[in-house]
Amino acid sequence: MRDLVGAVLAVLLGLVVGALVMVLFDPASAANVARAYAALFDGAFGSGRAIAETIALAAPLICAGLGIWVGFGAGLFNVGAQGQAIVGATIAAYIGFAVVLPAGVHAMVALAGGMLGGAGWGSLAGWLRARFGAHEVITTIMGNYVAAGLLAFLLTTPRFQRPGRGDSVAPLVHPSAALPGWGRAHLGVLLAVLAAAAVWLWLQRSRQGLELRAVGFNPLAADTSGIVVASTVVRAMTVSGLLAGLAGAIVALAPDVHGSPTPLSDSLVGSVGWDAITVAMLGRGRAVGIVVAGVLVGALRAGSLTMQTQAGTPFDLVNVIQAVIVLAVATPSLWRVLR
């Protein structure tokens, strides 16, 4: 309950700071603040289509957020969800456009490929940590840029670049690999909720989950009690990457408003992996919290475009709002700090 009140206050603070930023250099726009926020809300929850967009954007955020939560559980900060999502999206999209399979099976194979790709990318950081003691924050940050660079490279090769195109864009994913859905409301969100339940079960109700949390709580004590810390670390990073890879696969296979997935490009994954850190932070270490936080961030993202078109307020404002929300939630007690 206290967490909920805190979260609501954090969101309010974010909106207030956002309003201040709006009027700071343009006092004339003060009258526009209410209009901008109304448009933001309208674009996030105002209509069936808006809600569908919010949920569609929330699905990958929830998956990657769960991945970061798993990392937190083992005392690891996986800053590499972005890179893992890029790998996942790349593999899922490749299976989607290069392979021919019956509908349904195709989507499942592509999703599985994306998950495996993300898991592999994540496990690499886990292995470097367990084997060489390389700090996962550094390896995963650098891994993000390696993944982005590899994708940029692949998009210049004939295997990935769409024939007849000079720019870096992949062929369209076959309809058989697209996630089924109605407009933007697609199956991804169901996958995300299922993933949340599965991760909760695994972390809280399984032997492996217990070991993982024990390592996160105190690696030395875990080691003493017979848990193999190294393999637990690798396992945590693998699952973390798997979930981020799933997020990337959902992005690559989700239908857009016209019903076919957006083709793979350098910008397809956007900032899902970074935003997922916000989601994991706001989720406060609970599966339900992460789902709600994912919907909240998804709503901000969905509403930002409507805000820009309807009220003329640049969409970048939601980045400011999101940053303030996280800062407010992450700061233990503002009162104690200011004392």
């Binding site: 250099f25 343009d26 924050v137 940050i141 650098m142 660079g149 490279f153 970048d316 940053a323 996280v326």
Partner: protein, 377 residues
């Protein structure tokens, strides 16, 4: 053994390259429009690569302290020889040097900023955010006033503001430093993106057309900053205290010093350097800001900081090395050589991963960096 390993690796790679090298490599020592024309040098590609392999091999065989560095240099020269061989266009040596310095300038300044910060015990993931806000602030102030010095000052101030946020939330509010850095990057991206669209886009001539700063000025400042930071950290009492705060804050506290105060000072000073670096992206290029103009350079600076093992001289060398690679990527694209420029561009990141894994030498961060200090009550 460790001394020899790197040089040996260079030898093997060069021998491999020599097999696939064919044709002559042409090096143009002066640009087409330079006042004094120097002749272009034409060298047989394979012989050049083999010669480099020989040098690296000798370095490996002797195995002295300088062996890794010589091996690395031979590798770089041989690599360029391989890339340039068989290309119709000459390899522009002057361009390569100028481009390397240009790329390295913000990297050096950003990495030195991060160095001061991390030496005091505060991890700085938000060099990128400091760059970005500084790039924005310097452009807008220089555009409105028309005075470059004011623009640079504004950039430094913007770096200070971002650093103050980092200092406040990590030192006072004890927010996790990695998380905090990510959030600050998001904040800087949001603020600059928003104000760019709100202020600069409608009136670009007023707010987004700064006079252009000669990039060698900033390059000179960056070069001068390296010994300054080194002197500050390693030859002053203050520097000793900063380093102690980053290694063992409890010891500093029990000597009667204020850890928080020391960290505030180091973080703010670091922010000023990063802010100066941020000016480069706009003032020293075309005088214009655009959304997310720093595009990840802050993280390359972070990579240089780590690869340079938190030591000013090494950090600057690494920044130069990364600058070299980035410029080479641009040039090879123009030459149409067999190496893909996208793959070259990920080299700094891969190198950093390899380095932190301890596969090449030992990389150790300041012991207390990343840990917030809380006074015992």
């Amino acid at each position: 053994m460790n001394r020899r390993r790197l040089a040996l690796l260079a030898t093997i790679v060069l021998l491999g390259l020599a097999v696939v090298t064919s044709g002559d490599a042409v090096f143009a020592l002066s640009g087409q429009f330079d006042r004094f024309g120097l002749p272009a040098v034409r060298l047989p590609g394979r012989a050049l690569v083999l010669a480099c392999a020989g040098v690296a091999g000798v370095a490996a065989a002797i195995g002295r302290r300088w062996s890794p560095l010589v091996g690395l240099k031979a590798l770089v020269v041989g690599f360029v020889g391989w890339a340039a061989a068989g290309s119709a266009l000459p390899f522009l040596v002057g361009n390569q040097v100028a481009g390397t310095v240009a790329y390295a300038t913000p990297l050096v300044l950003g990495a030195l900023g991060g160095l001061l910060c991390e030496r005091s015990g505060v991890v700085n993931i938000s060099i990128e955010g400091q760059f970005l806000l500084a790039a924005f602030a310097s452009t807008i102030v220089a555009s409105v006033t028309g005075v470059l010095a004011f623009g640079v000052l504004a950039g430094v101030l913007a770096g200070l503001v971002m650093a103050a946020l980092l200092a406040f939330f990590s030192i006072q509010a004890l927010v996790g430093q990695v998380m905090l850095g990510i959030v600050l990057n998001l904040l800087a991206a949001g603020l600059t993106g928003f104000w760019f669209a709100q202020i600069m886009v409608p009136q670009p001539l007023v707010f987004n057309s700064a006079p252009v700063l000669n990039r060698w000025v900033l390059a000179g400042l960056a070069a001068a900053s390296v010994p300054v930071v080194w002197l500050l950290l390693f030859r002053t009492k203050w520097g000793l205290r900063i380093r102690a705060a980053g290694e063992h804050p409890q010891a500093v506290a029990s000597a009667g010093l204020d850890v928080r105060r020391l960290r505030w000072q180091a973080v703010l000073l670091g922010g000023a350097f990063a802010g100066l670096g941020g000016c480069f992206f706009t003032l020293a290029t075309v005088g214009q800001f655009s959304r997310n103009i720093t595009s990840g350079y802050g993280f390359i600076a972070l990579a240089a900081l780590i690869m340079g093992r938190w030591q000013p001289g090494r950090v600057a060398l690494m920044a130069l090395g990364f600058g070299f690679v980035m410029q080479l990527a641009g040039q090879t694209q123009a030459l149409g050589t067999p190496i893909n420029s996208q793959l070259l561009l990920i080299l700094p990141y891969v190198a950093t991963i390899v380095a932190v894994a301890g596969l090449v030498g030992r990389v150790r961060a300041p012991a207390a960096s990343g840990q917030n200090y809380q006074a015992e009550r």
